[in-house]
């Protein structure tokens, strides 16, 4: 079941939308903002609001890297693994995260605090190596800074 708030936000998008389906990404983003991820049940509920079949909506959801179809931790660490960050050394950062949190790309810590994912070029190549935690951008990140950055996210 969608919450009152989710329904209201999706309906606001629908009021502007040319076709209902064209609000699909907005609607999925709304669900994810409230719940952290998009469950099968949420796909069904949203699909019916958009006059789409769950399969049609899921085809859209699974196309995108940042619609999470599985639960993620309370915070998502996104390390840029594209070219400028490769040249400037993102690999040492991954080693720090691995040692500190015991997770690799695609994994979540046991206490559900962090999920670690790669992200394509953050458009912050002048600040490489760059990373995001939730909505916050960091760069250039050094191994020494990592502890302090992660401590801000409980």
């Amino acid at each position: 079941m969608l919450s009152e708030k989710e329904l209201q936000e999706i309906n606001t998008e629908l009021a502007h939308a040319v076709t209902k389906a064209s609000a699909s990404v907005d609607a999925l983003n709304i669900i994810q903002r409230h719940r952290g991820w998009v469950s099968d049940e949420a796909v069904k509920d949203v699909a019916s609001m958009l006059d789409m079949t769950p399969e049609e909506l899921d085809a859209v959801a699974t196309f995108y890297s940042f619609i999470f179809r599985r639960p993620v931790g309370r915070h998502v660490i996104l390390v840029c693994d594209s070219i400028s960050c490769f040249v400037m050394g993102y690999n040492p950062l991954l080693d720090v995260i691995k040692n500190r949190l015991g997770i690799a790309f695609g994994e979540t810590t046991e206490d559900k605090r962090f999920t670690l994912l790669p992200i394509s070029c953050l458009g912050a190549c002048d600040r490489a190596p760059a990373m995001m935690v939730d909505e916050d951008l960091y760069g250039p990140v050094t191994a020494e800074m990592m502890e302090e950055i992660l401590e801000q996210y409980k």
Partner: protein, 423 residues
Amino acid sequence: MEQPLTKNIRSTAEPLSLKEYEKTGGYQSVRKALAMPPQDVQNIVKSSNLRGRGGAGFSTGMKWSFVPMGPDARRPKYFVVNADEMEPGTFKDRLLLEGDPHQIIEGVIASAYAIEAEQAFIFVRWAYKLAIKRLEQAIKEAYANNYLGKNILGTGYNLELRIHGSAGRYICGEETALLNALEGKRATPRAKPPFPQVSGLFGRPTIVNNAETVANIPHIINNGPDWFKDLSRSNDAGTKLYGVSGRVKKPAIWELPMGVTVRELIEEHAGGMQDGYAFRGVLPGGASTDFLTSDHLDVKMDYDSVAKAGSRLGTGTMIVLDDKTCPIGFVHNLIKFFARESCGWCTPCRDGLPWLEKILRSIEEGTGQPGDIEILEQHCKLLGPGNTFCALAPGAVEPLQSAIKYFREDFKRHLRDKKCPWK
């Protein structure tokens, strides 16, 4: 030196509010454009020689001129700003979106008016959270001051502008894939023809322009085509946002006259290589352009000059390869990106790129086989222009084919020594 696109951008401060922006002459081009017939706005842009800053460099005025005009044209027409910016090594549009959102909105209004569009979208990538926030705020202000909405400034022209926040997929930047994304479908590219100018978003005439292209429009309307051409040092008009990243002293973006040389960018603006690092090569315009080497340092960074040197100006943001980075590791990183971001629609790209990735990885790891270089070369041809549904795959093999050409010895050494000499 004039820097029209970045004159209002202060790196640390908040962007200008609408009132502050108006004080610097902001929104004048809207008043000026809306007092002319749309066709005249098109003509000004056409004679300015503005070429699209999204990578392909197509004439903006020419592109607009394909849109059916007048009372019989199918409506509503759409104007879309492409701010997907996911090309690795490219970080120029973010500066404009975060630094001066009103400039983008002003460009949208004048451009949309020129093609008689009544609905516009700014398509922004998922990760640009700050840009989305600032654009939303600026759009609110523009509505409140009647630069958007119904009967703009009493001229009878109506325009709605909305932001579409994407969810993270490089292919959405390809203009026909972007249209499918806006329609809420899987963002695979569309067959052309029909071209979007005639049948685009929801089957209606649509123009998609890069964010930097759009930011140029107000200045061209205010100051005229000749002023715009005079900004440049080459045949291609205007200024350009150039960037350098990699092991240079001062990686950044600068607005400079079109046609500065590779050497000026790297040695003067970026301050040269970091101590202990030597220059080996550079991708001049983002991840999907061919390498240039130290033989090309005096090449001018405009569309035709870079093409003559065997590469593309692309996005104008360069990535430097230094002597402490393995060139095979470098292209492996790029191909891994393209393989991951392939939309999967056509076979050569969907199957070919992962294969290239595997071969490059094995060469890097010392398990490459004799004949691997030839297989890579063959695939660069098979994935080249004309063999795939969109330009992602041909773009992906540009750095690889040129790496094999310029760094062939390094490939051979990996195979011979069965290890990466940089590890």
